[in-house]
């Protein structure tokens, strides 16, 4: 069965620190990869996605992620975090099947950025 693993469940950083959140998945076929973010009191929003092409994808608010196929990884990065980045981050893997798309989510990483 497909699974998604996020290595860090809670990350605490100071403003201006660099961020990298790990995401690994287990599926040998073609996948689409996503990072979603849930800010406090808000609903889940798409941060960035990878379908094909350049494995380094850029998203909103200065976030980027790199797809490394050989490592089954899709880590999220940001060079300098802000207090407003405090949120929960979810990695998700999608497979497109005849029955439609199915997303499997990781456990989530709670990021706290201290001012």
């Amino acid at each position: 069965a497909q699974s998604v693993s996020q290595h860090n469940h809670h990350v605490i950083l100071s403003e201006a620190a660099s961020l990298e959140l790990g995401c690994n998945y287990s599926y040998g076929g073609t996948v689409n990869l996503f990072w979603y973010v849930q800010y406090p009191g808000q609903h889940l929003q798409l941060l960035l996605k990878y379908f094909s092409g350049d494995p380094l994808v850029k998203g909103i608010k200065g976030f980027e992620a790199e797809f490394i196929k050989s490592k089954f990884s899709f880590n999220l990065r940001k060079p300098s975090v802000q207090w407003s980045d405090t949120a929960e981050y979810f990695c998700a893997v999608g497979r497109w099947e005849t029955s439609g798309s199915r997303l499997t989510f990781g456990e989530g990483t709670q990021l706290t950025v201290n001012p």
Binding site: Y36, H43, L44, Q45, L46, G100, S101, L103, F105, G108
Partner: protein, 113 residues
């Protein structure tokens, strides 16, 4: 992206009762999904809501407990039947067109006493 609304936004229910959650999107979409996010946990797909046919349920979820309707391309309902405290969760619908990205609604926060 589509604008998705859910009703109710939150509810407190007694065990043994049922609650129907509505999901409305402002444009026609191919796919609609229902997820559950239990306290402190990630999202788990309950089922795919199919227009004009029975929903496709994931392992561990059954139609008797979570009946789903999708009468058209912009609307779906999820019923949580015969509720118990273990059903306390956030229930989210999401939508996608063709093989595109899924976008999520604001969620329905359910507490069962």
């Amino acid at each position: 992206s589509a604008v998705i609304s859910q009703k109710p936004s939150r509810d407190i229910c007694q065990r043994g009762t049922s609650l129907t959650i509505q999901c409305q999107v402002d444009s026609q979409v191919t796919m609609m999904f229902w997820y559950r996010q239990q306290p402190g946990q990630s999202l788990t797909l309950i089922a795919t809501a199919n227009q004009g046919s029975e929903a496709t349920y994931e392992s561990g979820f059954v139609i008797d407990k979570f009946p789903i309707s999708r009468p058209n391309l912009t609307f779906s309902t999820l019923t949580v039947s015969n509720m118990s405290p273990e059903d306390s969760s956030i229930y989210l619908c999401s939508v996608a067109s063709a093989q595109e990205t899924q976008y999520f609604g604001p969620g329905t926060r359910l507490l069962v006493l």
